[in-house]
């Protein structure tokens, strides 16, 4: 076994691969062994061990022949089982019959062109319609930090795999926070790019106007490499932003009710950003309090529309909670969907205004640490609240507005569970957000 793989970054590993001090076959063997040893996490719907080893052998031959493709060549990763991987069923972690994908989703084919090796498909909240990854046909995903806790969702299996060193990253999807929430629950990095920046073709839709694809990884630099490859741009690494950055902190709504340990972690992180010489000032996103209502009236009917046929034909194969949420979407009136879309435009402008004199916004990723598996409600600073709505409450706005957002680890609370800070950037400037996040990463960790 190659010790310390789970702590190693892609760039360092790439150097070892390029200079043939380790082989892709060794990396894949170790990752598969880790996956086998952590079956208790239910992180996978499908392990593709034989195919991954065959792909690794091909990579080793290419590198030996001098055909090194770049920093992702030979790097093993995983893919959320909502995304097409050629020759495998895209189950969405559901019992609803799944077709075999005839082709890779574009984001997967781009990663393969960069040389990554796909280890397997990761477990999720069924059809990405939840934040706890415990409504799934493949067993609830356990948090590697504390197996009684949720790994978050919906990309819960992706986050659990990345944290335990089963691959260097994962392809996730984010419709209301499904990359950032599991990243926060597990203490890793999760990026939701600008809306529309990465293609959603070959991905089972949840809400077609809110869906994003994005990477989960153990560092900002790793997330950046994966993002660049998924965007089909030149994979060139990252340049942490220099000094002189200004951050806005939207206290209204986003800081209104936080679990005390989360508040302490966020306050500490912001204090460290100030101590590092950056400027931090309060800002406001007007209308942010309407976010959950706007989101609900867009996400529910769009999800119901996609599932309409199978919901009728295979109703009994959905998890009960997911089925009910999809059924609920069928009752939303078109006029209310249009109202929500109008308000969405206003919220987009409000976030842009909040960012006008800032490089990025700083806020919590989640108001609570990872909840207990199976919990339907959670205590938030003395108030009992629905767990799903609570977990979505700080992330879903940026799916509505399309601004890029990244979850960064921000230490651990007194009970040992990870905390997370969300950094939100300007639309269309995801690379700049990654550079800013790279500058903050070591300060707030």
């Amino acid at each position: 076994m190659i010790s310390g793989l789970e702590g190693r970054r892609i760039a360092d590993t790439a150097t070892l691969l390029r200079t043939r001090r380790i082989s892709a076959t060794e990396l894949v063997r170790e990752a598969i062994a880790r996956a086998e040893n952590r079956r208790d996490l239910n992180a996978f719907t499908l392990l593709m061990g034989d195919q991954a080893l065959a792909d690794a052998a091909e990579v080793d031959r290419e590198i030996a022949a001098g055909r090194y493709r770049g920093p992702l060549h030979g790097i093993p990763i995983t893919v959320k089982d909502l995304v097409d991987v050629r020759g495998t069923p895209t189950t969405g972690a559901s019992r609803v019959p799944a077709p075999i994908a005839s082709a890779d989703a574009p984001v997967v084919s781009r990663l393969r062109e960069a040389g990554v090796i796909i280890l397997g498909k990761t477990n999720l909240h069924e059809f990405a319609f939840g934040t706890t990854s415990d409504e799934t046909a493949f067993g609830a995903v356990a948090n590697p930090v504390d197996r009684t806790r949720s790994a978050g969702g919906s990309s819960g299996g992706s986050a659990a795999a990345v944290l335990t060193g089963i691959g260097f990253g994962s392809v996730g999807t984010d419709t209301g926070g499904s990359v950032r929430i599991p990243a926060a629950a597990c203490g890793i990095v999760g990026l939701k790019p600008t809306l529309g920046e990465l293609p959603c073709a070959g991905v089972i839709p949840l809400s077609t106007t809110l869906d994003h694809v994005g990477p989960l990884a153990r560092s900002v630099a790793d997330a950046s490499l994966l993002f660049q490859a998924m965007k089909s741009s030149n994979v060139h690494g990252i340049a942490p932003a220099g000094g002189g950055l200004t951050f806005g902190v939207p206290r209204q709504y986003f800081f209104d009710r936080l679990e005390p340990g989360v508040r302490q972690s966020v306050d500490l992180a912001i204090a460290r950003v100030i101590d590092a010489g950056y400027t931090v000032r309060d800002t406001t996103i007007s209308g942010a309090e309407y976010t959950p209502d706007v989101y609900l009236h867009i996400c529910l009917p769009e999800a119901s529309c996609h599932h309409a046929a199978t919901l009728t034909e295979h109703a009994d194969k959905y998890s009960p909670g997911v089925r009910l949420r999809l059924e609920m979407g069928r009752y939303i009136l078109a006029e209310d969907y249009v109202r929500a879309m109008r308000l969405r435009t206003e919220l987009t402008a409000a976030v842009a205004r909040a960012l006008e004199r800032c490089d990025a916004l700083l806020l919590p990723t989640m108001p609570i640490p990872a909840p207990k598996i199976g919990a339907t409600t959670v205590d938030v600073d003395g108030v009992e609240a629905p767990v799903r709505a609570t977990m979505l409450s700080r992330t879903q706005l940026f799916n509505l507005t399309g601004h890029p957002a990244i979850a960064l680890p921000a230490g651990k609370g007194p009970e040992g569970l990870p905390r997370s800070i969300q950094v939100v950037g300007h639309r269309g400037r995801t690379e700049r957000l990654l550079d800013i996040a790279a500058a903050l990463e070591d300060i707030i960790h």
Partner: protein
């Protein structure tokens, strides 16, 4: 259609379809719809009366 009228029709339909467990979810949704309409009214003071929740 007012939120109250919508809710009554939705709950009745869910019952007819054998989905009585939808009722509490629809009631929660009705509160959210009312909030959405209030938000729109607040942002568009000239919105027609029909857009209001009741």
């Amino acid at each position: 259609m007012t939120v109250e009228t919508w809710l009554a029709a939705a709950v009745a339909d869910a019952d007819t379809r054998g989905l009585p467990e939808l009722k509490p979810l629809l009631e929660t949704l009705a509160k959210s719809t009312a909030a959405l309409r209030r938000a729109e009214s607040a942002s568009r003071p000239s919105a027609p009366e029909a857009a209001k929740s009741s």
